[in-house]
């Protein structure tokens, strides 16, 4: 599904990713952990195609395509979804209109029939239940005045509606209360399927109690320096990052 090889990326002339390798098969859930500033969000942004990130070396193959060749919207059409660490507020653009336009842009580009108002509403209703989304948030401007937790939940709600093939969740668990964390986790779990891959960027092992990953990676200083199973997360929780970083350096 996703094959990242020797990825080097720069932001404003500063190299952030320094030879990152990652291979994710369809149906897998991978957790990426790592110290602040290690490059996790940078990786997420490079995957989603944000401007200003220059890939200087390496490749990303997604679903048989060269991902780096695609514009951000083309990636979305191809099934890539990024739940942002800091979702932006967009005054004047209605949440639910955006979602409808998104759903139909994706369907159109896949040669599928666009949803009419009734069909779309049915879909929205179903997914709202799934992530217990409050109805009034739906009709507000995108993220405008949302609380931190509401923004995160909105991201997951969008993901549920758009049903991506590759979902990247950048610290979606940060800032969620315990109940919200459960709900969001359930939402993510319900999306798990043999065709869908998920990357969870997180600082907390707790999330991984709810969403059991197939693989856990440690990203440090622009590289994956250790990979393992769910037990790696527990170990990190206990010992922190220093021991790996030191082992690596040795």
């Amino acid at each position: 599904m996703l094959d990242i090889k020797e990825l080097h990326a720069k932001v404003e002339d500063k190299e952030i990713l320094k030879g990152l390798n990652l291979n994710i098969k369809a149906g897998e859930v991978h957790a990426i952990m790592g110290p602040n500033g290690s490059g996790k969000s940078t990786l997420a942004n490079v995957l989603a195609g944000r401007n200003g990130y220059e890939v200087t070396k390496g490749s990303i193959e997604y679903d048989g395509k060269d991902l780096l060749e695609l514009e951000p919207e083309e990636r979305a059409w191809a099934g890539v979804f990024l739940a942002f660490q800091y979702p932006v507020e967009i005054p004047g653009v209605n949440n639910v209109y955006l979602l409808k336009a998104a759903v139909n842009a994706i369907r159109k580009n896949r040669g599928e029939q666009e949803l009419d108002a009734v069909e779309f509403l049915a879909l929205v209703k179903e997914k709202m239940k799934l992530v217990k989304m409050k109805e009034d948030l739906l009709n507000r401007a995108v993220n405008e005045g949302f609380s931190g937790g509401e923004k995160k939940r909105n991201e997951i709600f969008q993901m549920a509606v758009l049903e991506p093939k590759l979902a990247i969740l950048d610290e979606t668990d940060s800032g969620l209360d315990i109940d919200a964390l459960k709900i969001v986790s359930e939402g993510v779990n319900s999306l798990r399927s043999p065709e869908r891959s998920i990357i969870l960027v997180t600082h907390y092992q707790r999330l991984l109690d709810y969403i059991k990953p197939d693989h856990v990676h440690v990203l440090s200083n622009g590289k994956i320096i250790k990979s393992g199973g769910p037990e790696l997360a527990l170990e990190l929780e206990e010992k922190g990052y220093d021991w790996i970083v030191e082992t690596e350096a040795a």
């Binding site: 979305a76 967009i90 336009a101």
Partner: protein, 448 residues
């Protein structure tokens, strides 16, 4: 003699004495001699620093109504009317009143809505007194040569008198329609609205070019609000892209009166809108919303001025601009707080979105405060589309063009959110979307 103005002097002679009242002839003559003295404004004048009126001055426009007449079909007018709006309507074609297309019957007793030329010519002593008392009292011929020129050529326009305690439920819609005629023409619409105590009305001034004709609209509107009168005013400027538009709105406000101005400027090659509000008694308030959208080589200048003459008066202003192509816009918002005017509030904001590197905005708030107990704020910004928002939308499958249009629309729409009159709001939203590159897509987006 300045040759630029010779043509206007000649045409003035041809006006003859169509309206014979003594006071009125004097008004016209003194305005003409003032214009003769000053000529067109020069960009050396502070007030005209960023707007060069040479293009207007050097063209020869016909100012006599007979030479500018064309016929416009009912269908053409229907196409620019508000859909399903129950309103009083006055239609002017190339500056000339069209009785045939207007509908102003069924007015409450005492209320007058009339063509200015007719009102001036009628032998009605009560009306004549009101006209004499208010006409050319609030728009100052000395402030702008264009106002003087308009006053010299007062003929057609809209005269409205709403007696005290009268609420006009239906909005009054004025259509100033322009279309190619044998000679390029100048129209000098003159509007006077006199609102009695506790009266209310909604007025919409539309300036619409039906084709890409070259002409010059030089409009002046005067509004007098008696105590507790309320007027909602909309100006929608959609002149031809080859037209010049100079518009001057002057409001004199008495105690507890309220004026709401919404000025939308979309058309015209060279445009200047002036609004002057005078808060002349306690409790008077004025709200000014504005939006200008410019493209290609359009030049649009908005000047506003509010005089807080008395204590406890309020003004608030919110103007936004969307500039594309090689267009240029000017915003100058002046607030003068006079010495006795304590406890006033004045807020002003101007935000600009520059969609092209070649577009240019000059924005300048001007505060002159001579009182000490006041609450004033002002802000001006100019920037491009927000990259984070753009990326967010694109990551949500919205293609770049649509995302840009959508954010532009959202920016412009912010000005409309306070518009209290739904039919106008809907129409404006429709017009604004029409100015965007991906109009069709945005319409799908916003219509459901």
């Amino acid at each position: 003699m300045n040759t630029d103005i010779q043509n206007y002097l000649n045409d003035f002679e041809q006006l003859g004495n169509d309206i014979k009242t003594d006071w009125f002839s004097k008004q016209r003559l003194s305005a003409l001699s003032l214009f003769k003295e000053t000529g067109f404004p020069s960009s050396r004048q502070e007030n005209w620093k960023y707007t060069n009126t040479r293009p207007i001055a050097k063209e020869t426009f016909s100012n006599t109504s007979t030479r500018q007449s064309v016929s416009i079909s009912a269908e053409e007018i229907d196409a620019v009317r508000f859909q399903d709006l129950d309103c009083y309507e006055l239609v002017f074609i190339n500056g000339v009143y069209s009785r045939e297309h207007s509908r102003i019957d069924g007015l409450a007793k005492g209320t007058v809505i009339d063509n200015m030329a007719d009102a001036l010519a009628k032998d009605n002593s009560k009306n004549n007194e009101i006209l004499k008392k208010h006409l050319a009292q609030y728009a100052d011929n000395k402030v702008s040569p264009f106002t003087a020129l308009n006053t010299a050529f007062i003929q057609h326009g809209t005269y409205i008198n709403v007696p005290k305690n009268t609420v006009i439920e239906k909005p009054i819609n004025i259509l100033y329609l322009s279309k190619e005629s044998a000679k390029p023409f100048a129209a000098h619409p003159r509007n006077l609205i006199v609102m009695g105590e506790h009266s209310e009305a909604t007025l919409i001034e539309n300036y619409i070019g039906l084709d890409d004709a070259n002409y010059f609209t030089n409009a002046v509107t005067e509004v007098s609000l008696a105590p507790s009168a309320i007027m909602k005013h909309y100006k929608i400027q959609q002149e031809s892209l080859n037209a010049y538009h100079i518009g001057n709105l002057n409001v004199m406000q008495d105690k507890d009166s309220r004026f709401e101005s919404n000025s939308i400027s979309l058309g015209g090659s060279l445009v200047r809108n002036d609004i002057h509000g005078q808060l002349d008694a306690e409790g008077a308030s004025i709200v000014m919303n504005g939006l200008y959208m410019t493209n290609d080589k359009q030049h649009v200048d908005n000047h506003t001025r509010v005089d807080h003459l008395k204590p406890n008066t309020h003004s608030s202003e919110n103007y936004r601009g969307v500039l594309n192509g090689k267009s240029r816009a000017v915003f100058n918002g002046k607030v003068v707080v006079h010495p006795q005017a304590q406890k006033i509030e004045a807020h002003q904001n101007n935000a600009n979105l520059l969609l092209s590197d070649n577009a240019e905005i000059d924005t300048k708030p001007e505060l002159e405060i001579y009182a000490d107990d006041v609450k004033c704020s002002h802000g001006a910004t100019a920037g491009q589309l927000d990259q984070d928002m753009l990326f967010y939308l694109r990551s949500r499958a919205i293609d770049e063009g649509t995302a840009r249009s959508l954010l532009t629309y959202a920016f412009a729409d912010e000005v409309l959110k306070d518009i209290s009159f739904t039919p106008v709001k809907n129409r404006l939203e429709y017009l604004i979307v029409g100015q965007l590159p991906d109009a069709k897509l945005i319409r799908e987006f916003t219509n459901e």
